[in-house]
């Protein structure tokens, strides 16, 4: 089938849904394609909250929020974007309330707010209550609310249509081509369809599945990011991957920072609140990269629980009321997945791969840019975790991802509507599905003698976790690069156990494996090149931040022999880089 | 596949009736709780089938306007309650033609039982020589 539309949104997480909603409100003929049912998107798992300087409980200003974002990101943040983020956070949160989002309330009926890591008053003085929340289900409520509004506005959804290729008109983007649509694989019957469109938004989320211990969904395989990369668009700052301090041991399911925001503490084997040695002011509410590193150091010093590789998160002193009313879900998780009762026992935790700061480079209108000069790819947009605006720099602050979805999802929708009004719809493209068809058939037709995808996936997850995790060094990264390349080689010959057309997840997983490998390679290459420590990227062989050489964004282009790196400057408007202490 | 999609259906069809039926099941349920247990206790605990006979019924039980009305009310409630209940059961397990047939049969039987019961209650003369 060939479907003509004026706008296409790939991905129905928070970013995609808000963009779709804006487009629907503007009357643009829009389709949302998603490989999952919209309500299954990963945005639904976000627990803690969404920050906006509403000042409902204490004095707060968007400038403070902007400062925290910049400092939290270790000054690699583009400050023009951070300003947009902090300012528009306020109106988007209010708009969400108007759409019906059931925020928790203060006694006088306003949106309730709580503390969150790295969010401070008066430029770093003390923790501030900025995170707006709905129990520990904020992401769930955002996803539901936006989906509800999309239904109300009659947005057209193509559920379980997996986008497998991007279409361009007038050549590849590097040659000045414009976005012309996508090719999608219908999971239910294996048919390929082309969707032609003036504007295409990628909102496909993150790719934490390249790590062994991750809070990310099985479906987060970086599809949109990898497809851009394969079409010659560079990827920005991919070496920055956030590890969240409190994942469930072994499987990585997240216990939200909200637990610490409400007053939960981290303890080592001796029962010490070790964070007082690493961040005396903010303690457990220091930014995530710092807390994760502190945890690793404790573990290395043999102060992990029982000498093992995990520590304790303790919420017992918060009392039953706070735990059950404000942290119900994470209490459940501890019970189900660890068999631990948080009311009476401390919960074992360990850092878990959580969030990709890097991704598809965009400007503040969510338009994808393709080089150091920020040249726009006409008609191609990106928003959400897959994009890199960059508001998170080297390390994202808690809650800022949801803000990012709202602010830039909305901006993407508005900009797409404007753009769609100015251009003609691309014509049908001859053999649009041929390249992916060949690619998928190649996997499908391979005899079942080769290795399984699962094997490659496990090996990749192991090497990324062990060598490209919280702490890195040149030796580990070099070894990782060799391993990733070996896996890419082997992945070219994997075989699958399902040759059918109906709901063939084996085929799709094999295809997704290719995306993860591409992105892993870019991550390792970027990390190897960046000989400094900044935010989430911590090189033991280069422990200091080096602004003179490295205050710049990495851009990784796909080349015949792997990624080639270029760099672009960071936009600095208000806050000059300073050492980062909390 | 949109086998049972209700989306886009503008107006519900028989809301009023379903609500009334639901309500009536509850009202008649309360009534039956008293009526049926009173009836059952009367026949089995106050008296016993071995002491009862047709003449006993005509001379004792039904020789009072109260007991006649009582039994008739019980009958009315049972018939309506049970037939609404059986309607639900039928609609749950039968489809298409079978459902129509069963429902029609059910209503017919209901009407017949109602009439038969009423006839008995009314046709027996009130005062018979003892």
């Amino acid at each position: 089938m060939d479907y003509p539309f004026d706008a296409i949104v790939v991905g129905a997480g928070g970013a995609g849904l808000w963009a779709a909603l804006e487009l629907a409100r503007e009357g643009v003929n829009t389709a949302v394609l998603t490989k999952l049912y919209p309500t299954r998107s990963h945005t639904g798992t976000a627990q803690g909250g969404v920050c906006a300087a509403l000042g409902n409980l204490e004095e707060d200003h968007w400038e403070w929020h902007m400062f925290d974002t910049v400092k939290g990101g270790d000054y690699l943040v583009d400050q023009d974007a951070a300003e947009v983020l902090a300012r528009e956070a306020i109106e988007t949160v209010i708009e969400l309330e108007h759409m019906g989002l059931p925020f928790n309330r203060t006694p006088d009926g306003k949106i309730d707010q709580r503390k969150f890591g790295g969010h401070t008053s008066n430029y770093g003085e003390a923790a501030v209550r900025r995170s707006c929340f709905a129990a520990d289900r904020t992401g769930h409520m955002i996803l539901q609310t936006l989906y509800q509004q999309c239904i109300k506005h009659g947005v057209r959804f193509f559920d379980e249509y997996q986008v497998v290729d991007l279409l361009f008109e007038g050549g590849e983007p590097a040659k000045g081509g414009r976005a012309a649509g996508v090719v999608a694989y219908r999971v239910a019957d294996g048919q390929l369809h082309t969707f032609r469109s003036k504007a295409v938004l990628l909102a496909t989320g993150g790719f934490g599945r390249m790590f062994r211990i991750t809070s990310n969904a099985h479906s987060l395989t970086g599809d949109g990011v990898a497809l851009c990369y394969r079409h010659g668009i560079p990827l920005e700052d991919m070496e920055f991957f956030q590890f969240h301090p409190t994942g469930i041991v072994g499987i990585g399911i997240l216990l939200s920072e909200a637990a610490r925001g409400e007053g939960g503490t981290l303890l080592n084997d001796k029962g010490e609140r070790f964070m007082e040695r690493y961040a005396p002011k903010l303690m457990e509410l220091a930014p995530r990269d710092m807390v994760s590193r502190a945890m690793y150091q404790e573990i290395r010093a043999g102060r992990g629980i029982g000498g093992k590789d995990y520590l304790y998160l303790d919420v017992r002193h918060l009392g039953r009321k706070v735990i059950e009313e404000k942290l119900p879900d994470i209490t459940e998780f501890a019970r189900i997945y660890e068999g631990v009762e948080p009311l009476t026992e401390p919960v074992p935790v360990q850092p878990t791969a959580h969030y990709a700061m890097g991704g598809i480079p965009t400007n503040v209108s969510a338009e994808v840019v393709r080089d150091e000069k920020n040249t726009v790819v006409p008609g191609l947009f990106a928003a959400g975790e897959c994009a890199c605006v960059s508001v998170h720099g080297a390390n994202r602050l808690g809650t800022n991802s949801l803000v990012d979805l709202l602010v830039f999802g909305r901006r993407a929708g508005r900009q797409m509507a404007r753009y769609a009004g100015t251009v003609e719809r691309p014509g049908p493209i001859a053999d649009a599905t041929a390249p992916v068809h060949a690619q998928l058939e190649a996997i499908r037709s391979r005899e079942s003698k080769g290795e399984s995808v699962a094997k490659i996936r496990h090996e990749l997850a192991d090497v990324m976790m062990d060598n490209v995790g919280v702490y890195r060094d040149g030796r580990l990264l070099t070894a990782a690069l060799a391993k990733v390349r070996e896996l890419e080689e082997r992945n070219g010959a994997v075989s699958i156990g399902d040759c059918g057309t109906v709901f063939n997840t084996d085929l799709l997983e094999a295809n997704e494996m290719g995306y993860l490998l591409d992105l892993a390679e870019v991550t390792v290459v970027g990390a190897l090149a960046r000989t400094e420590s900044r935010g989430a990227h911590s090189r033991e062989d280069f422990p200091e931040r080096n602004d003179a050489r490295w205050l710049k964004h990495t851009l990784a282009y796909r080349g015949p022999k792997g990624p080639t790196l270029k760099y672009k400057p960071v936009s600095i408007t208000r806050f000059e880089p300073k050492p980062r202490t909390y | 596949m949109a086998l049972y999609s209700r989306s886009g259906r503008p107006k519900p069809q028989s809301g009023g009736f379903e609500l009334a039926a639901w309500y009536f099941m509850r009202l008649s349920g309360v009534a039956l709780f008293f009526l049926a247990f009173a009836h059952f206790s009367l026949e089995h605990f106050l008296f016993d089938p071995s002491q009862e006979s047709a003449t006993w019924i005509f001379n004792q039980r039904w020789n009072s306007l109260f007991w006649r009305s009582f039994d008739w009310l019980l009958l009315m409630m049972v018939v309506l309650h049970a037939f609404l209940g059986m309607r639900t059961v039928t609609m749950d397990y039968l489809k298409g033609g079978k459902r129509t047939f069963a429902l029609t049969a059910l209503y017919l039987v209901g009407a017949v039982v109602f009439v038969m019961g009423t006839v008995v209650v009314l046709s027996v003369p009130l005062t018979m020589p003892s």
């Binding site: 639904g44 108007h98 019906g100 309330r105 | 989306s7 028989s14």
Partner: protein, 232 residues
Amino acid sequence: MNVDLRILRYDPERDQAPHWENYQLTVDPMDRVLDLLIKVKAEQDGSLSFRRSCGHGICGSDAMLINNRNRLACRIRVDQLGRKISVAPLPGLPVVKDVVVEMSGFFGKYRSVKPYLINEQPEPERERRQSPEDRARFDDTTKCILCAACTTSCPSFWARPEYVGPAAIVQAHRFIFDSRDEGAAERLEILSDEDGVWRCRTIFNCVEACPRGINITRAILEVSSAIVGRRG
């Protein structure tokens, strides 16, 4: 520990009818059924299809019939089930393949109850005010993840697939009892239809199945009470 896993397999391209397949696995008692399915797919039969995403009970992808009860595969551990585990698709929905079922009917019903805030008043500058008590009124039903475990566990739904089902009523409840919403009358009208709330026979399978611990039956009865109160 060793477990016997039985899966009701069906591939419309190969099989006439669904059939059981047995798999022997060595697993950790803390593993979840989803881990078992992933293991079978990785090690024994790649053609096994199932939906999954978040892996921790939030996205609602992997509701299925496990040991004859609807649950999320990622939320139920082996040690809660024992050595014999059976897995089948959700009852009452058309099967696409293996444990994957056709969900469009389910979502169609969801859409039919107008699951969105209806309030045509001009929007205030700041947030609308809502007291914590008013907010608490509908908290339970905001938790729904649309996994369909409830609707497909309901004998009333099996008997009459037209029944709008507990999940859709839960979604309607979330708005009917939201003090900011003005669409209650429309929704009650829709739900007082013959396939609406009256089909609920207070069987409680839905409550038992709900992975979010929602007291669904209470929500349904609150909705029917609201209908009765409005008309009666």
